[in-house]
């Protein structure tokens, strides 16, 4: 068991517009990507962010050995309780998921 971040070359989060957050996981090779793609559970992502599993999109983008994860932001960008306007520091709960 290793944390997800240890499999990736790049692991980042960013708004896809103010209503959605998107995560890019880029791997150094296709083996690492396939390994994680098979084992990353939607339910773990849902648990890490307190959201409904059905709202999570997980898309493999094999051209650059990457996986994209997108779901709606709980607090939209700039709402009164938001603490990350650009959404670029929201990746840690994902990074810490055990694979």
């Amino acid at each position: 068991m290793k944390k997800l971040v240890n499999y990736t070359q790049i692991l980042r989060s960013k708004n896809a517009g103010p209503l959605f957050i998107t995560f890019d996981l880029i791997f150094s090779g296709s083996d690492e990507m396939e390994y994680v793609l098979k084992r990353l559970k939607r339910s773990d992502v849902a648990l890490a962010y307190g959201i409904d599993e059905k709202e999570i999109d997980i898309i493999a983008y094999k051209v650059v050995n990457s996986i994209k994860i997108t779901f709606p932001r709980l607090n939209i960008s700039g709402s009164l309780c938001d603490t990350d306007i650009y959404g670029c520091q929201m990746h840690m709960p994902l990074a810490n998921i055990e694979i």
């Binding site: 960013k14 898309i59 990457s66």
Partner: protein
């Protein structure tokens, strides 16, 4: 045809030498994006830019004379950061200033893309609004509360002005892609290639390595492919960088949604043409039956006063949730007879705390600045001296980094509209002016 992107965002800067290299061969169009919703709703609400005026002026003052000299129309999208009329005027004024100082003369086309509340209400009432997220449905109340609403226009208004022979375009809120795709589509190039190329170009040299939003990027579009090569010889485009760029800030790496339709990258192929150049083929465009424009609006939620502080004592950190409860009850009791009901919102924005010090920003948004001040001051003083069981540091709970401790942030805006509107014409929200400068 050669298209040059000045940089990822007007005001972020670029290498002057790289720009000269880009113009050492024929350039057909020069473009730059000047805005984004990334910095949040404040800028659209306040009419201010998140970019700095002096930096924007510097970026224009080097590029504008070069573009005019080479007869390459200079296209600027989402002026002033958020692209409302106030933002467009702000940028136009900078352009007039540069023109006066350098004695430049040109034909300037301006696109305004603000919409009225009545326009949005009409769309809502006739069932022509689509929600992007089901958590954020559009309501009549949200439209009514909106301070400013803009539409994000696509290529259509740019094509209209380019075909009228303008030398410079300043546009209100626009798709980043429209800046670079419009001239290609106008000249008859494939829309799939044009939009894909534009999607990569809009961030400047972000698709190169070393990566930089703040540098010049070049695209060459042909009938069956396009090529990308950074102008700065110190950078190179790689397949990895170029392909990865379609991941960035997009909810789906295969689809780019545009007002005119959708660009499908499922069959795109990337080839390393030479050390610094990547060639792309196979991107397809599928025109939508119903054309759409995204609407962005903000409402004013009040006025903000904040107080940042740090708690270093682990005992206090441990008791912090309890302290917050005590403070909130105290503030409620001490304001219930003097402040109107629901006239303020409090958030404690914290970081750290588990095994280290706790950073906290006491964040108060009031219906007026005075209310925010009153509540923030009450919280700050009560929290500073709040007692708890086993307390040893009885002189105070908070380390303030500043005097004054409380800071006026001013007006607070939140997104009220972020929705898709079905339109009869992709020009229906645009207003134009064309003038000789």
């Amino acid at each position: 045809m050669k298209i040059v992107a000045l940089c990822g965002l007007l005001g972020y800067g670029y290498s002057e030498e790289a720009l000269r290299i880009a113009f050492s061969e024929k350039v057909d169009y020069l473009g730059v994006d000047a805005g984004s919703t990334d910095p949040g709703p404040y800028y659209l609400g306040s009419g201010k830019s998140f970019t700095d005026r002096a930096a924007v002026k510097r970026d224009i003052s080097l590029a504008l004379p070069l573009a005019l000299e080479h007869k390459a129309p200079f296209i600027i999208g989402t002026a002033g950061g958020a692209g409302s009329c106030s933002h467009v005027e702000w940028l136009r004024e900078i352009i007039f200033e540069v023109a006066r100082e350098q004695g430049l003369h040109f034909k300037l086309g301006t696109i305004y893309s603000d919409v009225t509340k009545e326009y949005v209400m009409e769309k809502l009432n006739s069932g022509k609004i689509r929600n992007l997220s089901e958590h954020f449905p559009l309501t009549h109340e949200a439209v009514e509360e909106s301070e400013r609403i803009v539409s994000q226009v696509g290529v259509a208004p740019f094509i209209k002005l380019l075909s009228e022979g303008v030398d410079v375009i300043v546009s209100g809120r626009a798709c980043d892609t429209a800046i670079y795709a419009a001239p290609c589509i106008m000249k008859g190039y494939d829309a799939g290639l044009a939009f894909h190329m534009a999607k990569i170009m809009e961030c400047g040299a972000m698709c190169s390595e070393p990566v930089a939003a703040a540098d010049v990027m070049q695209a060459y579009i042909y009938d069956d492919h396009f090529e990308l090569r950074p102008a700065n010889p110190a950078r190179r485009c790689t397949i990895g960088r170029v392909a990865a760029h379609t991941l960035y800030e997009q909810s789906n790496p295969y689809l780019i949604f545009e007002p005119d339709g959708v660009c499908d990258l499922t069959h795109s192929e990337f080839v390393q043409k030479d050390e610094r150049t990547v060639s792309v083929t196979g991107s397809l465009f599928k025109e939508a039956e119903t054309k759409t424009l995204k609407l962005e609006g903000v409402k004013r939620s009040g006025y903000r006063t904040i107080c940042p502080a740090t708690v270093y004592d682990p005992l206090t950190v441990e008791k912090f949730p309890e302290i917050v409860k005590t403070v909130n009850a105290f503030v409620k009791e001490n304001t219930q007879k003097t402040l109107p009901e629901n006239s303020y919102t409090v958030n404690y924005k914290t970081s750290g705390g588990a095994e280290s010090s706790l950073g906290v920003v006491i964040d108060v948004v009031g219906k007026t600045q005075e209310i925010a001040d009153t509540v923030c001051a009450l919280i700050r003083s009560r929290m500073l001296h709040c007692d708890y069981e086993g307390r040893k540091s009885t002189a105070g709970n908070l380390a303030f980094p500043f005097s004054p401790s409380d800071i006026h942030v001013g007006e607070v805006y939140e997104f009220s509209v972020f929705h898709i509107a079905e339109v009869d014409s992709l020009l229906e929200t645009s207003e134009f002016t064309v003038e000789e400068v």
